[in-house]
């Protein structure tokens, strides 16, 4: 199987990839490129999770990020009126606040990394880790996860009802009309 040296090498590659692409998110000049860099960064973090023995969680992270980043890129392009997101634009703003926030977050995480106590038990093999996760999701934490799941489902249905072509204000194909600003105003 894979030797420990190869695992270490893979960790270094994934970690560098995550940092470099994460940095590039803010230094690129296009929203779609930023989304792709962010996706690469998350995929590298997913790879590190797989190396840590969280095989299921790491792969699910990579799986979920693909769709999320694509939707994010398309929605950003729609809002920014920047056709295709290829027109150059500055991706940073409020530099001073961002720099302070970034520094504080970095120091806090470094402090946790240096001062925190980390478990040193051997990692269980991936199959039993996946099984334990399943038992947790459908055992003690079931109420929490099912509540979150139903809430998200209701949100999705609501969003589709609002955004669908047969929306609140009539069919989009026939020119839907918003209601007036006054409550009792007649809708055309």
């Amino acid at each position: 199987m894979i030797g420990p040296l190869l695992v270490d090498a893979a960790f270094v590659v994934f970690a560098l990839l995550a940092i470099v692409t994460g940095y590039r998110v803010f230094r690129t000049d296009s929203m779609v490129r930023a989304a792709f860099y962010l996706l690469a960064s998350f995929a590298a973090v997913g790879g590190i999770m797989v190396l840590l023995g969280a095989e299921f969680l790491g792969m699910v992270l990579i799986l979920m990020m693909a769709g999320e980043m694509l939707v994010m890129a398309i929605v950003m392009v729609m809002y920014m009126m920047n056709p295709a997101g290829l027109n150059p634009m500055v991706m940073v703003h409020q530099n001073r606040v961002a720099a302070i926030a970034g520094l504080v977050a970095f120091l806090a995480l470094s402090a946790v990394g240096l001062a925190g106590e980390f478990p040193d038990q051997p990692v269980p093999d991936p199959a039993s880790a996946t099984e334990e996760l399943g038992r947790e999701l459908l055992g003690n934490s079931m109420l929490v996860f099912q509540t979150a799941g139903i809430t998200l489902l209701a949100t999705m249905i609501g969003a589709i009802a609002i955004a669908g072509s047969r929306g609140r204000y009539g069919s989009a194909d026939e020119g839907s009309v918003e209601p007036g600003l006054q409550p009792d105003e007649e809708v055309a």
Binding site: S30, E55, V60, A66, G85
Partner: protein
């Protein structure tokens, strides 16, 4: 516990399967096109046509557009081909033998399928041109619609196996194939699989109505690489369908790998034939059908499969 193949053997197996599968698709596609159109075609010409087409593409000069995203454009076919290789690497070839058999094989396969939308969007977006971008947006809508039914249909096969490992999923079909156990599964998988591989009636991102869609600005070797990656993805989806629903290597008399190849070819024949027998449908209609019909049917499939096991 299954023994993984040695790394060079695994890489060679996946590579040979993707390239030879791609050639078979190219030949079959041309042969079926001629047969459906009622044009006589000699076997020799059909066999030589993909090679001649590839050679022509290699000497055709490449084109470029105004201010494209060069790295993205070059990366997209490589990403799609790599995803096909990743998906195919999970394929069980014989009892306990697969190029790679992680315990979460199903999730790795799902992640590869999810990233296809990134590859196609990147391909259409990076050339900075109108028609490819239309194709990219179309595939975004298509991908968000097919992904849930495709993966739910596949997930139902993990229930009788009680494992996310694809080797276990095939092992669990020793007595009864999933195509019988879950009659809804294979049709859902094939319809959504057409959408995944954007083939035939669901070739919306690269369709002729967009003058080639995401590959409209590709010429020469770039076009060859993209169509090669597309056929590789089709091989991977068909092979995985054969493993998850048609019992993979299970079969009488012949050795396991022969059955894997035969069943994969059967599904490939169905998919390629669909390209010549059905008209392309509009993206709005596909999205509607996916959300209103395919997802509820896929959920029903999962519920019934689960209820039978209880």
């Amino acid at each position: 516990m299954s023994e993984p193949l040695a790394l060079p053997v695994a890489i060679a197996t996946v590579g040979v399967a993707l390239v030879s599968g791609g050639y078979v698709i190219a030949v079959g596609d041309r042969w079926l096109a001629a047969a459906v159109a009622g044009r006589p075609s000699s076997l020799r010409r059909v066999l030589a046509a993909p090679i001649a087409g590839g050679a022509l593409a290699m000497v055709t000069s490449r084109t470029t557009t105004e201010r494209p995203d060069g790295p993205g454009w070059a990366l997209a076919p490589a990403l799609l081909a790599a995803l096909a290789a990743l998906a195919l690497a999970m394929l069980p070839l014989a009892p306990g033998v697969a190029p790679a058999d992680p315990d979460t094989g199903f999730v790795v396969f799902s992640a590869a399928i999810a990233f296809v939308m990134i590859a196609v969007f990147l391909h259409g977006w990076s050339s900075n041109a109108t028609l490819p971008l239309h194709g990219a947006y179309r595939y975004g809508a298509q991908a968000l619609s097919f992904q849930i039914p495709f993966l739910l249909a596949m997930l139902a096969t993990a229930l009788p196996a009680e494992s996310l490992s694809l080797v276990r999923i095939v092992e669990a079909q020793a007595s009864l194939w999933n195509v019988v156990r879950q009659p809804l599964g294979l049709p859902l998988y094939l319809v959504a699989g057409l959408a995944v591989t954007f083939w035939g009636p669901l070739n919306l991102p690269d369709g002729h109505d967009l003058a080639g869609g995401t590959s409209a600005e590709d010429a020469g070797i770039a076009r060859l690489l993209w169509s090669g990656a597309r056929t590789a993805m089709l091989v991977a989806v068909a092979a995985m369908g054969a493993a998850a629903f048609l019992g993979g290597y299970h079969g009488p008399v012949l050795p396991g790998p022969i059955w894997v190849i035969a069943k994969t070819l059967l599904l490939l024949a169905l998919i390629v034939a669909a390209g010549h027998l059905f008209a392309r449908i509009r993206i709005e209609r596909f999205v509607l059908v996916a959300w209103v019909a395919l997802i509820p049917l896929a959920l029903l499939n999962v519920f019934i499969s689960g209820a039978i096991l209880l």
